[in-house]
């Protein structure tokens, strides 16, 4: 398939642009989750988004009597419950002697369990517009519609704008939380904004990528970008670009190779970026550090063994 043929196809274009937008937003905002050492929070969010999405579906169908496929309604439910899960995990870690990793795992499983229950309820009954609701589990990039793309750009753009507007506060709180508090920047406000943007970054990819693999979009690009950069703006920018490029390349390959699921191929592409970064980035990576060390030792040996 030539690139011209590829871009002539509406579905292919939607898959490519849709996943690239998801990769860009998730990569950029994932940097803050990475630096706060809560990379896995996006896994909690994506799993908690399932009951959020399905709850919103039921609410729309049963209470409002409207079409259950309304993207805005489902997104709202996902964001709402996703945010609650983040607050819940952090709250458990704060008030109990449970550490954050355990708190996140517990949160993830109970929300996901609730989601699976709702899923069963929905699949067993003849609700209108329930087709495609299983896509939230494993994702299906080929169903990205033009409206979905516009919604992702709008909602993802909003999250990126929030990040830019509160850049100084995000950086301050991420680097030194106590210092931010003493300077008078309320921790709760900043956290609500920051985790709100991370929730959005996670949620916009659910339908295309699926909740199981979505975490890779939030975690892998920042981990790769961190190897190459020394500043926060550099890291966030590069991470967003790696996310977008990895998603675009993965989506392209999945279509060109034919009948290969898009999400998994993107995850593999992102992993490729990650491996290259960890091996080759100057200064921090395995290969360059080993080379530097060998060179320095050789020099030292020559110096010390000189007569």
């Amino acid at each position: 398939m030539t690139p011209a043929e590829f871009f002539a196809d509406h579905t292919f274009r939607m898959v490519l642009f849709g996943t690239s937008v998801i990769g860009l937003v998730a990569g950029a905002l994932g940097s803050f989750a990475y630096l706060r050492k809560q990379s896995l929070i996006s896994d909690v969010i994506s799993h908690a988004a399932l009951p959020g999405t399905l709850g919103a579906f039921l609410f729309t169908v049963l209470v409002l009597g409207a079409d259950g496929r309304s993207m805005i309604a489902l997104l709202t439910g996902a964001v709402l419950v996703g945010t609650i899960s983040v607050l819940f995990a952090n709250h458990v870690a704060r008030v109990s002697k449970i550490r954050i990793d355990t708190a996140m795992a517990i949160t993830l499983t109970i929300f996901f369990g609730a989601g699976m229950l709702l899923m069963r309820i929905i699949t067993d009954r003849p609700f209108p517009g329930k087709g495609g609701i299983q896509d939230y589990l494993f994702g299906n990039a080929s169903v990205i519609t033009y409206a979905d793309l516009v919604t992702s750009i709008g909602v993802g753009g909003l999250a990126l704008v929030l990040m830019v507007v509160f850049w100084k506060e995000f950086a301050l709180r991420t680097f030194d939380a106590d210092h931010a508090s003493v300077l008078g920047f309320g921790a709760r406000t900043i956290d609500a904004l920051m985790f709100g943007t991370i929730v959005i970054a996670t949620i916009i990819g659910l339908k295309a990528v699926g909740l199981v693999l979505m975490v890779a979009f939030v975690v892998t690009p920042p981990a790769a970008a961190r190897q190459w950069t020394r500043t926060l703006p550099g890291m966030v920018t590069l991470s967003g670009l790696i996310g977008a490029a990895g998603s675009g390349i993965g989506a392209y390959l999945s279509i060109v190779l034919g009948d290969v699921p898009t999400g998994p191929l993107i995850v593999l592409t992102l992993f490729g970026f990650f491996v290259l970064s960890v091996l080759l980035a100057p200064g921090r990576s395995i290969v360059t550090r080993a080379l530097e060390r060998a060179r320095a030792r050789r020099r030292l040996k020559a110096e010390l063994s000189a007569p």
């Binding site: 301050l172 680097f175 030194d176 508090s181 003493v182 926060l232």
Partner: protein, 252 residues
């Protein structure tokens, strides 16, 4: 002018008690920090030195008690109060440069939304020069030595230009050169009439760095000018050591 207001102490702590879960770490602390002094907060491990500072700055919720700065609650005078935490409290692998960290000291004055501009960057350069880290401005903070890290934190506090500084173990893990640079800044601040509270570990240097001292062991054992408060008797009582050993040689 930094000092034009009610003329009371720089900080006043009244009946402050703090507990972590069920363990009390501070019991009914009453303390005045007079203006223009360098006050050392000294005591054994677990005496609550850091907790005292953190509770005063609202970072740890107190069980009871009140804290005022320049006669007012912290929320009204945040810009006049600076904080230099222990350097081990942050991740030094954070992707940022010395210049960016020091500039963060200006954020409090900027408030929400406003970004640092040229005046803020100029103040950051000055503060870096004052602490002798201007040559390191573009460095990634992870490349710095322990002493250089402390000086970065000191510069970040200086750039805020507060009237009252809280420094938690500024000499922790510091080389001789950095120690000298930090002491020079302390003396300069005192000359400018600023007030500094330092949590300090090394009893031997208390007399060199501090005019006032507060001996703390969950409660205030003694607080006042070094000559009055920093006595063998008080130190023994704070450190719970018996009379007759020679570990207090330098105090006499």
């Amino acid at each position: 002018m930094p000092l034009a207001d009610d003329g009371g102490p720089a900080a006043r702590v009244t009946n402050l008690s703090v507990a972590y879960r069920t363990t009390p770490v501070l019991r009914r602390v009453d303390l005045d920090v007079p203006r223009g002094v360098v006050m050392g907060v000294v005591g054994p491990n677990g005496a609550g030195k850091s907790s005292l500072i953190k509770a005063m700055l609202g970072l740890v919720p107190p069980l009871a008690g009140e804290v005022e700065f320049f006669g007012r609650p912290l929320a009204k005078v945040r810009r006049r109060v600076g904080y230099m935490p222990q350097s081990a409290t942050v991740d030094w692998d954070f992707p940022t440069t010395v210049r960016d960290v020091v500039t963060m000291g200006t954020y409090g004055g900027l408030g929400w939304f406003r970004r640092p501009g040229r005046p803020e960057h100029e103040r950051a350069e000055e503060a870096m020069a004052q602490t002798g880290i201007d040559a390191l401005a573009g460095r990634q903070i992870g490349e710095l030595s322990g002493g250089q890290r402390q000086r970065v934190f000191l510069a970040r506090a200086l750039v805020q230009a507060p009237d009252l500084y809280f420094m938690d173990e500024p000499f922790q893990g510091v080389d001789a050169k950095s120690q000298q640079a930090i002491v020079a800044v302390l003396h300069l601040l005192r000359e400018q009439g600023r007030t500094v509270v330092i949590v300090h570990h090394d009893l031997a240097t208390v007399r060199d760095y501090c005019d006032h001292v507060t001996l703390l062991n969950q409660r205030v054992i003694a607080s006042g000018p070094v000559a009055e408060a920093f006595t063998k008797e008080h130190i023994r009582s704070a450190y719970e050591v018996a009379a007759g050993d020679d570990f207090l040689e330098f105090t006499a």
